[in-house]
């Protein structure tokens, strides 16, 4: 009897937490589910009953978005820009983080300050200057230009995350590799990179998610429809006089798919990277 009462009291104490989790799930998952249902309904059906369940289910909307609405072009543009930018930012960022974490050199602090100051600069502040620079370099309205901008603006966060992790790798590992005859680059490649993999996965995932959804730079620096990325493509369905809510929802579901896949693959490594303590 006493045990049952204790059990009941323990459950009661957990009630606020459970309520919070339920509320949080509804607030964050609800809109997602709503958009998911809308992606399978036509705009007319949605206007008639915004919260209705898909009946009939319009799977053909995904094919239409992909083929008739230029979505495949936007998707591949996004994929190209994001994959190349994430690859470059990971390689450059990890090298910079390795150097800052591992070597004492004159100007070390200044270089760190310079790189990490990128964290506090709002993108709106950079946009005009970037526009002019890309124009001067004939990179305006090109995917290459956008890749360079993405790499430059995401180096700071990448270095910030990786340097913190790399600095925790014991110096003895590097000394041991040096005594074994490995060069500085080999040590980076064979010791830092594999041991730092959880942190690298973290930055890859975060950068991918952020860049995949990036809108501001893309909308300013790309004008050709054939060069637009997915977030701009979704705009295609919204105009000043019409709004195809159903197709916007379908476009959003297509856009979010790679994010879900990336997260499914790397979430464990990402959590490990974010919570990892000393590497022992």
């Amino acid at each position: 009897m006493a045990t049952q009462m204790r059990l009941g009291f323990a459950q009661l104490r957990r009630l606020p937490l459970v309520l919070f989790v339920v509320l949080y799930s509804v607030v964050s998952g609800g809109p997602f589910l709503w958009v998911a249902t809308m992606s399978l309904r036509t705009t007319a059906e949605i206007f008639k009953n915004p919260y209705g369940v898909p009946s009939p289910v319009h799977w053909e909307k995904f094919a239409d978005a992909w083929t008739k609405s230029n979505y495949s072009t936007y998707f591949w543009n996004s994929a190209t820009v994001v994959v190349v930018a994430v690859a470059l930012v990971t390689v450059i960022g990890s090298m910079a983080a390795h150097c800052l974490a591992r070597y004492r050199f004159r100007g070390n602090r200044f270089v760190r300050f310079l790189i990490l100051s990128g964290l506090v600069l709002p993108p709106q502040l950079l946009i005009l200057a970037l526009f002019q620079i890309l124009l001067d370099l004939d990179l305006y309205n090109t995917l290459t230009g956008l890749v360079i901008v993405y790499v430059a603006t995401h180096i700071a966060m990448t270095v910030y995350i990786l340097e913190g992790f790399f600095a925790q790798i014991p110096q003895d590992l590097f000394d041991a590799a040096r005594m074994d005859g490995y060069s500085d680059f080999e040590i980076f490649w064979r010791v830092t990179m594999p041991i730092g993999a959880p942190a690298i996965f973290t930055t890859v995932t975060l950068n991918f998610i952020i860049l995949w959804n990036e809108f501001l730079f893309a909308v300013v620096l790309l004008t050709d429809d054939a060069k637009r990325t997915l977030p701009l493509g979704i705009m295609h369905f919204t105009g000043s006089h019409q709004l195809d809510v159903g197709m916007v929802a379908t476009g959003l579901m297509i856009a979010i798919l790679p994010i879900i896949l990336i997260y499914a693959f790397f979430s464990e490594a990402m959590i490990k990277g974010m919570t990892a303590g000393a590497v022992r």
Binding site: D175, A176, M179, D180, R280
Partner: protein, 370 residues
């Protein structure tokens, strides 16, 4: 075959006013096991890292077989090092950890296989080759670290406190294992530790360092028996040597020491060097094992007695440590006596001192008076 000569070695860091290492000199003979012993921060690891080539040398030289290696990079010195943290690569298996250094040196795959397996068998790691470091116990990791040094078959082994991460029981067995391996392999070795038991049991010779300088070098028992100054006297030995104020005098042509209310006739061999201290204060050192509850058994040993009170009794099982306060002064002494003592806190007794075993130090320089 490798002789290591360290000559006037200095290390100065920009951020520090005093040098971290100052004029360190020693020679490690071929196949010798030299232990660098000292408290934390005394510079012993810095010396080791300068020998390894991991730390730039401010001044002085390190030579291996007569060749100065100051400008030779670490990888070209043919030295293997075992680190305090073992420095095992967490993403590699035991096999890959052992083979890592060999692969860089363009050793053939068959030869790598042979050497790794030979080292694994020697160190009892044969069953663990496919495991990763996180799946190994502390002792096993330590053996892998040792194996990684062995497979390279280097001229010199350097050990940087390799046992300090092990628990007490494992440290004893691993220590014995390491001694055995070093005797079998016979490679010239330098071993850094702050643990005097490791130093005493492992080293052919020990080099005691303090505040960046070498204080004394010698065979372990030699150093223990003849400490060159009060630092060595206190640092080597657990509990440390008791140091008391005393005074030297001459009586009937023989040197005598006054302390703890007693007059102790000093051994004749020391008389000539003591002349200049006659009439002056000295520091008198007595090891805890040279103090007795009653006269020591067997043989006539010159004994002085001093009334004392027991302040604390620490039974350790095999022996008992007594902290006693002398009646004639405020000095407290630690005595190591038999486990069967009946003495308790507050008891009074006449503590017996083996006068042949006392050490004398100059209070101004803290150097031994011999």
């Amino acid at each position: 075959m490798a002789v290591i000569t360290v000559d006037k070695l200095c290390k100065r860091y920009e951020s520090m006013t005093a040098p971290a290492v100052k004029d360190v000199d020693f020679i490690v003979a071929d196949r010798e096991f030299m232990v660098l012993l000292g408290p934390s921060g005394c510079g012993k690891s810095t010396v080791l890292r300068m020998i390894a080539g991991l730390e730039p040398i401010t001044s002085g030289t390190v030579s291996i077989d007569g060749r100065v290696v100051n400008q030779v990079p670490a990888k070209a010195r043919d030295i293997a090092m075992v680190f305090q943290s073992y420095a095992l690569y967490p993403h590699m298996t035991v096999f890959d950890n052992l083979a890592f250094g060999l692969r860089r040196r363009d050793v053939g795959r068959t030869e790598i296989d042979r050497r790794v397996h030979a080292a694994a068998v020697k160190l009892g790691l044969a069953e663990l080759l496919k495991r990763k470091p996180h799946a190994l116990s502390g002792g096993q990791r330590q053996r892998v670290a040792l194996g990684r040094a062995i497979v390279r078959d280097p001229k010199v082994f350097l050990f940087d406190e390799p046992l300090s991460n092990l628990d007490a029981a494992l440290r004893v067995t691993t220590r014995n294992e390491l001694i055995k391996q070093q005797h079998e392999i016979g490679t010239t070795s330098i071993y850094v530790t702050h643990d005097q038991v490791e130093a005493m049991t492992m080293g052919d010779r020990i080099c005691i360092m303090n505040q960046g300088e070498v204080v004394q070098i010698g065979r372990p028992l030699e150093v223990y028996r003849n400490p060159t100054d009060t630092f060595v006297a206190r640092f080597l030995g657990n509990p440390p040597m008791n140091l008391l104020k005393g005074r030297l005098d001459a009586k009937d042509g023989v040197a005598v020491a006054h302390f703890a209310g007693s007059v102790i006739v000093l051994p004749k061999r020391a008389a000539s060097s003591l002349v200049r201290y006659v009439g002056r204060d000295v520091i008198i050192g007595i090891r805890p094992e040279d103090l007795y509850e009653t006269a020591p058994p067997g043989g006539p040993v010159p004994i002085a007695r001093s009334p004392a009170r027991v302040v604390a009794v620490e039974p350790l099982g095999a022996e008992t440590l007594l902290v006693v306060a002398l009646d004639v002064s405020s000095d407290e002494l630690i005595a190591r006596i038999g486990r069967d003592t009946a003495l308790r806190n507050g008891d009074r007794f006449d503590i017996a001192i083996d006068t042949t075993a006392i050490h004398l130090f100059d209070p101004a320089t803290t150097k031994a008076i011999v």
